[in-house]
Structures are given as structure tokens and as C-alpha cells.
């Protein structure tokens, strides 16, 4: 089992391992969403192997930090991170989307140990996180709630309902991370329905906004650690990312939002990822 909290270098290795898991599971399933899983990988890795207070043996520990992947279609990254963190055996990853599997096409909190909230329909997760953060405050628990939302998802009106509520209640036990990969199902976010100036919008809604390179592990860790300790205001980390990050033919290519690589493509992807970073045994 991996030792946590990890150093930045160790996190980079783990992110590469998780990227390989993602490619392998989506290839095996012949279905799934690689692009948005790969863009969120570095963020999710930093959370699960450095920032979050967790106990894989006690997934519903009341004092644990909560994580919500509001863009639930990217769940391969969540499933891989939980498996690598020891919540369940890695053999489950080969069952993604199969009949009877715990790993549904979109995450089901009642099937998978460590999944804190069922997601899939966009625009729910940040609101759910607000409920968890309010509940933590009311019950005098010091857990932190982390929510990753998508940039396409930010077109949902409910995201902005949640934005208002997070600021109203000054939820400093809540941090949102925007996976700003600029691609959604149909096309580029900036062209389809622009969300810019997105940092200004969150600032105007009353959040502390931290723009970062969402693939710079040191920057991710610094931003997350700052968000965890900042008082009196919720933080929005705008992580500029690349959809399909780590696999050259997937990077910034819209079609890889929801397409599975064939075996040959998967092998090429695995080579590229492993070439980038030596995967630890």
C-alpha cells in the first residue's frame, strides 16, 4: 500500500499509475470517458494521496474529508484513485460498466467503498458539497469537503445557485476545483457556451479564486493546502487542464470525451504515459 502523504515526486508517479489504470479500464470496458478522467487525474491524485483525511478500512468514517466528483462521467479517475489508495482490490477496475459490477458507468455511493456521493447528472455535486459543509459546521466536525466540477458543467444554472450559497454561508470547509479543460461533449466550451471570464465570475460571487496549472503537481498541492486552511470564505481553484492529458492523440481532441481506445491505441497510450513517468511496481 502506498505511503501517504506523498511528496510531489511520489504524487507524479502515482498520477501516472492512475492514468494507466484509466486507460486500461476504459479499454477493457470498451466504453467510458477518458478525456475528462485524464484532465482531472493530477488534482484527484493530490487529494487522495496528500490532502485528504481518510481511512480506507473505514470508508464512511464520520470525520473523514469528503470528495465529490461532480463531473461523474470522469469516474474512472475516482475508481482508480480509490483502488490505488486501498479502498478495494484493483481487480475491480477490470469490471467497469459490466453487469453486476460495483463500478457503474457513473459512480454509485452505495456500491463503491469510498464514493461519498452518487453523481452523474451534472450540476448537483457542488450543492451536495454545500450540504455536507453546512452539516459539518452544525455537527462541529472539522472535515473538509472537496468538489471537482467541470467547465462544461459550469453551464448548468444550479452551479451558480451553489456559488451564491457557498459565499452566503462563508463555507471555508468547502473547496471547489474547476477542471478547466475547455472541451465538452459537442465542442470547445469557449465556443459552445462561453463561461469566461470564469475567475471574475467566481470572485464576483464571493469566492477566493486561485488560478493554477492543473498539471503542475507542486502548484496543485500548494493551492489545495492553502484552500484547506483559509478562513471565512470558500475557495475555487481554477485548474487549467488539458483534456486527455498524457496521451498525445487524445490531448485536446473532442472525440475522446466519451470514446474508448481499442487495444492498440491503449497500448500506445500506456507507453506514452510510462515513458513520461516510470510507474512504480
Amino acid at each position: 500500500m502506498a505511503q501517504v502523504p506523498m511528496s510531489v515526486d511520489e504524487l507524479k508517479h502515482m498520477a501516472a499509475a492512475i492514468r494507466c489504470d484509466i486507460i486500461e479500464m476504459i479499454c477493457t470496458a470498451s466504453a467510458g470517458h477518458p478525456g475528462g478522467s485524464l484532465s482531472a487525474t493530477d488534482i484527484v491524485t493530490a487529494l487522495y494521496f496528500r490532502l485528504m483525511r481518510l481511512d480506507p478500512q473505514n470508508p464512511r468514517w464520520p470525520d473523514r474529508d469528503r470528495f465529490i466528483l461532480s463531473k461523474g462521467h470522469a469516474c474512472p479517475v475516482w475508481y482508480a484513485a480509490l483502488a490505488e489508495r486501498g479502498f478495494y482490490d484493483k481487480s475491480h477496475l477490470g469490471t467497469l460498466r459490466r453487469l453486476g459490477s460495483i463500478l457503474q458507468g457513473h459512480p454509485d455511493m452505495n456500491k463503491v467503498p469510498g464514493i461519498d456521493m452518487t453523481t452523474g447528472s451534472l450540476g448537483h455535486g457542488l450543492s451536495v458539497g454545500i450540504g455536507m459543509a453546512l452539516a459539518g459546521r452544525l455537527q462541529k466536525k472539522d472535515y473538509h469537503v472537496w468538489v471537482v466540477i467541470g467547465d462544461g458543467e459550469s453551464q448548468e444554472g444550479s452551479i451558480w445557485e451553489a456559488a451564491m450559497a457557498g459565499a452566503k454561508w462563508k463555507l471555508d470547509n468547502l473547496t471547489a476545483i474547476l477542471d478547466r479543460n475547455n472541451l465538452q461533449n459537442d465542442f470547445y466550451v469557449d465556443d459552445l457556451m462561453p463561461i469566461e471570464p470564469v475567475a471574475d465570475k467566481w470572485r464576483a460571487f464571493g469566492w477566493h479564486v486561485v488560478p493554477i496549472d492543473g498539471h503542475d503537481m507542486a502548484a496543485i498541492v500548494t493551492a489545495l493546502e492553502d484552500a484547506k486552511t483559509r478562513k471565512g470564505v470558500p475557495t475555487m481553484i481554477i485548474a487549467r487542464t488539458i483534456k486527455g492529458k498524457g496521451v498525445s492523440y487524445m490531448e485536446n481532441v473532442c472525440e475522446w470525451h466519451g470514446k474508448a481506445p481499442c487495444r492498440e491505441e491503449a497500448d500506445k497510450a500506456l507507453c506514452e504515459i510510462r515513458g513520461d513517468q516510470e510507474v512504480q511496481p
Partner: protein, 341 residues
Amino acid sequence: MNNNALLPYRHVRAEIVAMLSTDDLFTIAEAEPTRASYARALLEIGERNPMVVVLDADVSKSIGTNKFAEKFPERSFNFGIAEQNMFAAAAGMATTGLIPFATTYAVFASLRALDMLRNSIHYPRLNVKIAASHSGITPGPDGVTHQGQEDLSIMRSIANSTVIAPADNDTTTLAVEAAVAYDGPVYLSFTRDPVPKIFTPDYPFEIGKAVTVRDGSDATIIAVRDLTAHALVAAERLAGRGVDVRVIDCHTLKPLDVKSVLQAAEETGAIVTAENNIFFGGLGSAVAEVLVENHPVPMKRIGVRDTFAESGPYQDLLDKYGLSARHIVKAVEEVLERKKS
């Protein structure tokens, strides 16, 4: 216990029985909107159960949950006019063990925020209580946009749902208490307009168990929420014509009390359903589904036909849209004709 002198009525207050043969039930009987009964019940439950929290969406003064906010400010959360956010946040709270009562009007709960109800509350089976006022065409004067005439049908169609629509004030209190005791999502449907206080304190409320409130052998009226009062009036009028009608208060639409429905079909041979709700997919449909597969008998459904209503005084609206006692009487006479032939 129920005074035997009141038989064939059961659990019905003596003053109410005395009014059934007149028009007084809807004019001078003591009455209260069930939304107000709900808000009052919460105050008391909040005292006993520290896990109960109340979420509002800018209609707390209308529903009366502002009183909970005054008494328990730290357990009250007003989300503003943002029902989607409120219901998903309620789901998040429920994951921590809190028991949120997310409160708004039926149209907003069952329609505007339905995606949150389905995917974030019912699919993960989270312990959220969805409290919906202004169900049916009970917000008479407010008109169509605020008349939640589909909520029972919509909520019945969601997997993992429990749907409760109490008929009067005391049974509303019992329904709220039962909802707290039940672990899982519960949709509670309340009226905006006053409904008469019908029942005695011995009313045996249990989720999923319909209550026979009048014995009878010729036909059965199965009613829900505010039409139970009209069903009782209809039964009394029919008794005057020598027709002996059973009345069932079907406070839980889902899970439906299949046993009581089939027993009524077998013992009385004719069924009329009565609901202040669109007549697609609600109580009438639920009963028809059971009968047609198990024990078909002549049946007729009272409900809002394929139309929207309009603004108007509540009781006048019920009458115009075919939901009052006289319509129920006519429906019973029709099924009795079919039963004979």
C-alpha cells in the same frame, strides 16, 4: 376508541359526522391547511430530535417553517429561490446523518428540482424528507403555475420513493413523525388551502397502510389528501339513498396498500378513486394497476382531467373541475350500474 354510535364511520370526529349530510363541512367546520399542520409538527419534533434540520426556498413564511427558523436558527437554512441547490444540499446533509426536511411548493419540488430528487436523493436512497405544500389545485387563488397537480403521479414513478399525502391536520402530524422514523426519502404532500379536521386521535397511521374510515359493502371510495373529506360527504349522501359505501383514506400512495385495495374489490365489487391530482399516474392509476392484474371490478377515477385549472376559490375550483362530493356520488352510481349488469 371510536364511539360505536358513530359507526359505520371509524376514526371520524363526531362533529364531522354530524356535518356530513349538510354543506357545513367546508364552511363552518374547524379547518387548517395541512402545510400549517406540518410546520407545527416540525416545531415539536425539532425539540425532540436534534438531527432534524429544515431547508427552505423563500416560502418559509407561507408554509410556516419560519417558526422553526425562529426557534432553531442554527438548524434552519434558507436557500433563497434556488430549489435545485436546496434539494441537492439536503442530499449532502443526509449523507452525514442529519434528517433534512426540504420544504417548498409541490410544483417546484416535483418539477423544477425533479432531477435532484431523482438522481441525488432517490437513487442513492438518502434520508431526505421532501415537504411539498400547494399540492393539487389547493392553491386555488394562485392559479395554474402554483397548482401542483402532477406531484403524486411524478413522485410515484420514481424508484425508491415513498409518497404520503395526509387528509387533515392530526394525520399530518402523524405522517411527519412516521417520515422521521423511516430511513429513506419520503415525499410529503400538503395543501395550501384549509381542510376540515376530520379524524380522532386514535387514527392508526402507518406508512403503507390505508385506513378504512367508513365501513360499507356496496362499493368503495378510495381517496387521498383533501378528497377524503369529499369522499365522506359523498358516502353520507349515498347512504341517504340506501347505498352503503366503504371509504378508505389512502394516505400513502406509495407503497400502495394492495391488500386493502384487493379486499375492497372483493368485498364491495366496485371502486371509485378520488384524488385532487391529474388523473394520469396517481392514485386512480395505482389502484387500476392492482385491480386489472388481480381482481378487475367496475371502477371509475375522479381526478383532474387532461387540463390545467385556473384561479378561484378552492372549493369552487374542486367543483368546477369535477372533484367534489357530487362528482364522487355520480361516479359511485355509475360503477354500481356496471356492477349490476
